[in-house]
């Protein structure tokens, strides 16, 4: 039996279209569901007051500080390393066994699950280097985790800078480093910033790697050697231990809004950059 092609074509459209619709609908549902329940709880006073009674009452101020501090430390460490790697790969070397190895290492690092980063951060930073559960341990662990993202986006951004820019710079007698510093990096900056923002977004949402390295203290941290709890860890503890579903929704809404805002800004920047390039 042979079904006429125009029927199979229509059936394919129906099935594939339904699958696409389902995908988008589910993902949108998740955001709408959380915001719907969480936005009424979310207010300035919720964000800027201290939690009471393990988070049953009060706000999320210390976790807000943790959520700012950890990603900030992570990008301060990972950005120079990531951009440096990208510069080396694009400007200072040809494709070789070395670059293949670096790329493979980066790909592998990107695929490592966050719980492994958590185990590693715990045994290396917290225990071996005696940093304890602290902002420092957490930030360093997150830096390892977001390094591949920053390397990849920076490399793409640097490659997108036209070769003619470099040639003009060289023809004026500039050295390679001068060309990199004055021509390549400024032109690749928006792309690099995009990578850094994606790294921030991933750090904000991370739980498994953070809970074993930065700890879960609800006290306000005073230095980078203090333990801190991020919003995602706070949300996890509130939801899992059934402490307060209302505050859990509020924290989830704050979490989703910050992650989406950071990612949205990253994409906006990338699009503007690409539009200017072409």
């Amino acid at each position: 039996m042979r079904i006429p092609p125009r029927y199979t074509h229509r059936a394919a459209i129906a099935v594939l279209g339904a699958a696409t619709l389902l995908t988008v609908a589910v993902l949108v549902f998740i955001i709408v569901f959380v915001l719907n329940k969480g936005l009424p709880v979310l207010s300035l006073s919720f964000l800027f007051t201290n939690p009471q009674d393990m988070g049953r009452a009060g706000g999320i101020l210390p976790t807000l500080v943790g959520t700012l501090a950890l990603p900030l430390l992570a990008i301060v460490i990972a950005t120079p390393l990531g951009v440096g790697t990208a510069v080396f790969l694009t400007e200072y070397t040809q494709e070789s066994a070395t670059t293949m190895a670096i790329r493979f290492g980066t790909d592998c690092l990107a695929g490592i699950p966050s719980i492994i980063f958590g185990l590693f951060g715990y045994i290396f930073f917290v225990t071996t280097l005696r940093m304890g559960w602290s902002i420092l341990s957490g930030g360093l662990t997150l830096a390892f985790m977001i390094l591949p993202t920053i390397i990849r986006t920076s490399e793409e951004a640097i490659r997108a800078v036209p070769a003619s820019y470099r040639e003009v710079s060289f023809s004026l007698g500039a050295t390679r480093w001068q060309t990199v510093r004055k021509v390549v990096l400024p032109n690749a900056l928006p792309g690099i910033v995009t990578g850094v923002m994606l790294g921030i977004g991933r750090s904000i949402g991370e739980t498994a790697a953070v809970i074993f390295t930065a700890g879960a203290s609800l006290r306000m941290p005073h230095s980078i050697f203090d333990s801190v709890r991020t919003m995602s860890v706070h949300f996890y503890i509130l939801a899992r231990e059934g402490i307060s579903s209302q505050n859990a929704y509020g924290t989830a809404a704050a979490l989703i809004i910050s992650v989406l805002a950071v990612n949205l800004a990253a994409y906006w920047l990338m699009n503007r950059y690409l539009a200017r390039r072409s």
């Binding site: 092609p5 074509h9 440096g84």
Partner: protein, 283 residues
């Protein structure tokens, strides 16, 4: 930078460039150093194939956790891979390009939703639904598979779209000129040409599903036993590490690191396969 000179700058970049490999090596070294001696001392066969997990009695068999990880991951692939690939095909082959260009970033944006949020949705919405519909505890293999399946959708879709877009337009035009419908062209030409990239997207997503922790802890129920039906509560390897790490000491902690070693090796194998397949797709 006149202090170090051109050669010095180059040397600095050369050193920095090894940071990702150094990071990977450090991670492998410390996880292995903490977990491998335990595996060798306890006996790999006993550790991997025994179903007896009683940390207080010094008995550490992770077989149920390995089976749980396998089932949850397979379930997630069964849900996430077809939906993701179907979405990618629909958006690239059947939709006008502007629609695709609007939907793809939206989906990638949603990939940023933290895993704890997915887990929470699983607990609040999915588990009660499963409990009401089919009975059982609700927090189960099925719930874990569905939530993980949703979580990997953006990965599968986004990489598959890139693979499909990389197929030269002339291939499609050749097929259409022969009188094939768009679906025939997709099935017999485009999908065949993009199959390596699509396979890579599925393998990478599998790596993510195996390694996912927080969402699985929240929705899979965490009972240490070999599941007999999709409605049974299970504990995956990742969940086992995260649940007990907070209070484990001594040999118990080493056993958790040993679980991490098994997980790490599995992920490395999956990543290596994916990167091989990817490279073939690039040719």
């Amino acid at each position: 930078m006149n202090l170090v000179g051109e050669k010095g700058v180059q040397r600095i970049f050369q050193i920095i460039a090894f940071s990702s490999i150094a990071a990977l090596a450090l991670i492998a070294l410390f996880i292995l150093a903490e977990g491998l001696p335990f595996i060798l001392h306890y006996g790999p066969g006993q550790f991997l194939l025994s179903s007896d997990w009683q940390p207080q009695q010094g008995r550490f068999g992770i077989f149920p956790m390995m089976v749980a990880s396998l089932w949850v991951t397979l379930g997630a692939m069964l849900i996430g891979a077809p939906l993701g690939v179907a979405g990618a095909v629909f958006l690239t082959e059947f939709c006008p390009r502007p629609v695709m260009r609007a939907v793809k970033p939206t989906i990638e944006l949603l990939a940023g939703i933290p895993s704890v949020v997915y887990g929470f949705i699983g607990v609040m919405v999915l588990a009660p639904l499963i409990r009401a519909q089919w009975g059982g505890p609700g927090l189960s293999v099925l719930a874990g598979a569905i939530i993980l399946g949703i979580m990997i959708l953006p990965t599968v879709m986004s990489i598959s779209i890139d693979a499909l877009l990389a197929v030269p337009q002339s291939y499609r035009e050749g097929s259409l000129a022969l009188g094939a419908t768009v679906w025939q062209t997709t099935r017999m030409v485009t999908l065949v040409a993009a199959r390596s990239g699509i396979a890579a997207s599925i393998i990478l997503a599998m790596g993510r599903a195996v390694g996912e922790t927080m969402a699985v802890i929240m929705v899979a129920g965490n009972a240490v036993k070999i599941p007999l039906s999709p409605l049974d509560s299970v504990r995956t390897m990742t969940a086992n590490i995260a649940l007990e790490m907070s209070y484990a000491t001594g040999i118990h902690r080493q056993a958790l690191f040993a679980t991490g070693v098994v997980l790490f090796l599995m992920i490395m194998v999956l990543n290596t396969i994916a990167s091989r397949v990817m490279r073939r797709a690039g040719r």
